[in-house]
Amino acid sequence: MSTWGMSLSSSRSMRRLARLEGWQRHALALACSAVAVGVVTVVIQLLKPVAPVISLGVLYVFAVLAVAGVFGLGYSVLVSVASMLAFNWFFLPPTGSFTLSDSRNWLVLAVYLTVAVVVSTQATRSRSRADDAEQRERETAVLAELATALLQGGKIADQIDEIGRRVALVLDADSARIELGPPHPAGPHESPLPLAAGSRAVGTVYLPDQANPSLRVRKRFLPALSSLLAVAVDRETLAAQALQAETLRQSDAAKTAVLRAASHDFRTPLTSIHAAVEALEAGSIELSETDRRELMTTIRVETERLIRLVSNLLDLSRIQAEAAAPMQELWTPDALVAQAIAALGGNAGDRIQDQVATTLPPVRVDPTHAQRVLVNLIENALRHSPDGEPVSIRATNTRREVIFRVIDRGPGIPADQLEEIFEPFHAGSDGGGAGLGLAIARGFAEANGGRVWAESQPGQGATFAFALPSEQPPE
């Protein structure tokens, strides 16, 4: 994750020192103390010929200083005493013995001890300030990285593990698990720390039982972490809501467009029917028997058009609402085609040349859906074929699919419209509910795991293909 930097590597050595096991730390401190006293003793021995030994004793202050700075008061007192003893043994007459009768010795010891106390107190204070500053820096760095990562739009769920690792570093624990939302029961060997932003419970951090972050760190870091997580959670919720609202708006816009187009398509047949009925009822108009029959035909044809439009709209709404749950059964391709031709009604079947081998494997499909797909494709082909020209139906199979092809000899479809024509009421549709046929065909095909697409060369007619998953036939 690029947003997670490497800023946490500084002063690892000090932290490592602080983390050493107790006895290791003591051993190291003792060794360092001994070395410091030893080194100063050697230096004094070397300088003895050029300066009075009594004034060289002050050099032991350096050993006290160094140990006080690194290991604190306890060891610096030890070094003070050790220095005094070493000075006494090696350099103060009588050498080779501890004689503390001389008041100078007491003075020397007092000076060393004072230095030890003052320096180590200062060192401890500055070290704890440095530690604190470093801890704050770590916290700030983690929070900054967290803010960047979360607000850049990443999903919280994807980052929560990485956040946990960072939080573990800050809280001085081996690991940390963060759960958003209401608290879960903690796992074995885990203790929960609530994450609260103000009065709002954002989640919980679970730390291993042996981790014991300082109260100060918890009070300072956890609220900041909680606030950040709360903002990120809110941002994610709002983004989801915005997406939902946008989807709704778009589907609303689509529905309005369909409704507008549909009401136009309703008005035409209604106007014809209305006019025809009024003409038949009006006493003032003399109608011949032929006229009456023509008006009756108008009413019937336009009524059928309305019926088709309503049933198409119903189908479309079912597909769009994904309510067209298919009841899939095994069907042979030839039976599906035969049934579609029968459903066309009238003598439409006379214009159709179908060649569907009975040896094709069966397909799994809802037969009412398959019928709607084929009928709509065939009706579309009949509508776009010049009068008297036949429409062909073929079927082939690949390893996994049976593909039906409905081929007309109409004007064909320009390449840039091969997809557009599947939109409800697209610009090229010719009313009468026809503008829905292809959209419905595709919708039902897809509801059954199939596909519908157009293949065409302008001027060479159009081919509509309908593919369905095939199965092995029974024995």
């Binding site: 059964e329 039976a335 459903a343």
Partner: protein, 230 residues
């Protein structure tokens, strides 16, 4: 052709009730009407009709429920009126005992033809010989001929054809066919019913690509018809 008999029409839409009454009276039937399921059940008990035309959606109970209750007391033929989008309920009603259906908006001729078919006495199962158009089925001899030419069928295909022949003109739902041909424990066959029908058609239809005898009622079932009657 004038028909006779008493028809009970059940629909809560007054306009449709009115239109149906007019059409049926015009065709020679006597007509009783009911606007709810309860009224229909009462009317069927008081004055048993010869057939019932029943809307699927009624204010007090579903048409399927009316079918089920009517079937508890008798076998008066029932023709369902169903709308687009009610396909599943339609099949439920057929499985609950309805004999046939027409889809709203229906044509008058279609409705009258369905009524005639359900009113026609169905050949009793014991009948040895069925003649449907050019199709001849001799149940005792297990012999099927078409236009005098012998057709060889597998035992399953013969059972299917025999069931259809005994119910000539009647709609048989998928479930009915499966139960009657394979027994109540049918399992795997359910998947292959349409495939078996398709094979049967290859043998008995003069042009299997345009079936005229064994016709599909998409999503509901099949019926065997005499093409000369259509």
């Amino acid at each position: 052709m004038s028909d006779s008999g008493r028809i009970l029409v059940v629909d809560d839409e007054r306009q449709i009730l009115h239109a149906l009454t007019t059409i049926l009276r015009g065709a020679g039937y006597e007509v009783d009407v009911a606007a709810t399921g309860a009224e229909a059940l009462a009317a069927a008990t008081i004055r048993p009709p010869d057939a019932i035309v029943l809307d699927l959606v009624l204010p007090d109970m579903h048409g399927t429920e009316v079918c089920r209750r009517l079937r508890q007391t008798g076998d008066t033929p029932i023709v369902i009126l169903s709308a687009v989008g009610e396909e599943r309920q339609k099949v439920e009603a057929l499985d609950a005992g309805a004999d046939d259906y027409v889809t709203k908006p229906f044509g008058m001729e279609e409705l009258l033809a369905r009524l005639r078919a359900v009113l026609r006495r169905v050949a009793p199962p014991g009948e040895p010989l069925h003649r449907i158009g050019e199709l001849e089925i001799d149940v005792e001899q297990h012999r099927v001929t078409f236009g005098g030419k012998l057709i060889t069928l597998t035992p399953t295909e013969f059972s299917l054809l025999r069931l259809f022949a005994e119910n000539e003109g009647k709609l048989l739902t998928h479930r009915t066919i499966l139960k009657r041909v394979w027994g109540p424990a049918y399992q795997v066959e359910a998947h292959y019913l349409h495939v078996y029908i398709s094979r049967l058609r290859q043998k008995i239809e003069p042009n299997p690509a345009r079936p005229r005898y064994l016709v599909t009622e998409t999503g509901a079932g099949y019926r065997l018809v005499n093409p000369d009657d259509q």
